[in-house]
């Protein structure tokens, strides 16, 4: 599904990624791990076409992401669900509206929003809190809003950048259970995380980065 080939990206003198190559199969669940500054977020931003690489290729379903037109970037992003460490929810909209906005962007007819939003809110356990505003929700709940927004568009691929970074252990664990459940429904998931405990517990394939280089690439037993 996703092929990364010889990817290199630097910011001035700082090399964020150096000659990275790996593949992700459809329906796979992988972790990208490494210490802060190892290039995890840069890699996700490159997949999302928020950045352009200096060298290398990224193929999503055989489409070369780095070569698509600027006007086609929204269409690419609409196929990818993104969960951010800092949630990135819209503070002035209710939880329901935050999820609905993704459907509006996709151009889904408004009469179909209610059922789809209810479905994902139920899945993430926020169906009773849909009319609350982000300021009325906890960090864990906000992260689930971010996940619900990513899921509601039925994406091919879910990218999550440190989704447990701002959460306590128990909430992080529940969040990972959610990702596991979503993955079992057939979604491809790539999570950037440095949370060793979580990664060990999940027992998924791990791509380890260090100073922008791929240092380890393995599957861990659960």
């Amino acid at each position: 599904m996703l092929k990364i080939k010889n990817l290199t990206k630097s910011f001035g003198n700082i090399i964020a990624l150096s000659d990275i190559s790996f593949d992700v199969k459809s329906g796979e669940f992988i972790f990208i791990t490494g210490p802060s500054g190892s290039g995890k977020t840069t890699l996700l931003r490159l997949i999302l076409r928020d950045l352009l690489p200096d060298k290398g290729e990224i193929l999503l379903d055989d489409i070369e992401i780095t070569k698509i037109d600027k006007k086609d970037i929204p269409a690419l992003r609409q196929q990818i669900g993104v969960v951010f460490q800092d949630f990135k929810v819209l503070p002035e909209r209710t939880l329901r509206e935050n999820v609905e906005i993704a459907l509006a962007i996709l151009g889904v007819e408004q009469d179909k929003w209610h059922d789809r939003v209810d479905g994902v809110l139920k899945m993430v356990g926020l169906d009773t809190r849909s009319e609350l505003f982000p300021s009325q929700l906890s960090g864990g709940e906000l992260q689930r809003v971010s996940l619900a927004r990513a899921l509601v568009v039925n994406p091919k691929l879910i990218l999550a950048d440190e989704p447990t970074g701002n959460l306590d252990w128990e909430t992080a664990d529940k969040m990972m259970d959610l990702f596991e459940k979503i993955n079992k429904e057939g979604k491809t998931i790539i999570i950037a995380s440095h949370h060793e405990g979580i990664i060990d517990k999940m027992g998924k394939r791990v791509v380890k980065l260090e100073k922008g280089k791929l240092t380890d690439h393995k599957s861990k037993a659960k």
Binding site: D50, P74, R77, I80, K88, E92, A104, I105
Partner: protein
Amino acid sequence: MKKMSNIHIKTAVSNIRRSPFQAIAAAFVLSLTFFVVTTLAILVYSSNKILYYFETRPQIIAFLKDSVTSESVSALQEKLAGDVRIKDVNYVSKEEALGIYKKATADNPLLSELVSPTIFPASLEFSVKELSFAKDIIEEVKKDPIVDQVGFTASLGPENTLQDTVERLKTIVWYLKIGGGAFVLVLTASSFLVLLVIVSMRLTTRREEIEILDLVGATSRFIKSPIIIEAIIYTLIGVILGWLISIILTLYISPSLISYFKEIPVLPIDTLKLFGLFGIILLGEIVIGISLAIAGSQLAVSRARKV
């Protein structure tokens, strides 16, 4: 499509609610602009009507000699009617001339009792399509053997001041158009800048939201739409308020204007035509306003970020 625009309208309205003072400032400046635009449009309409009235009313009267035959009068009438510079040629007989005199002196019957049709000359009355033709035509008509004298309607004064009067009127209308146009241009530029500043401020406060929308796949159009709709709402409020105030003032002073200018139609007397004129002005202003809003918000968005 309709439902998509609903969400953009909802976002725009909630943005306006969040910053009511910015909205009031924008609507106020735009109201002022469109008040001036409406007033100026009415002034230009009225002054054009005044000019047209003076340029096209029957101005030249060729008084005929008593001895003329009806054939020679018809020949001159046909000659004048065939001239492309001349319009509305009318023959006024001695009897008709007496009738006009009697009508004019109706409040003093003694004056009309003392006269008979024989003392009034028959005449040919006509107007020119443009006053600049008048001088040459007068000279030509004077040379005709059946013409005794050539005169002008009293309101335009003697022959030598005719051109001056019209030139003065033309100059006034020209200054009105140029001066008013420059004033409107300055106000429009100010309104454009106010829109630009307000949209830019809105973009600054919405920077995070725009970034999020961008990352989750919103198109440039999706991001821009609420911003453009918001600017259009300000402009429509400005247009309607400015137009309404100007129209109320015009309607308030129109009886005085109509009675002052009497037969000169400075404003349409028919209510339907009057509101037709106001409607055309409103329509024009809406088109200008929406163009202004779209251009202002597009410029602000393109300057603020690469959406």
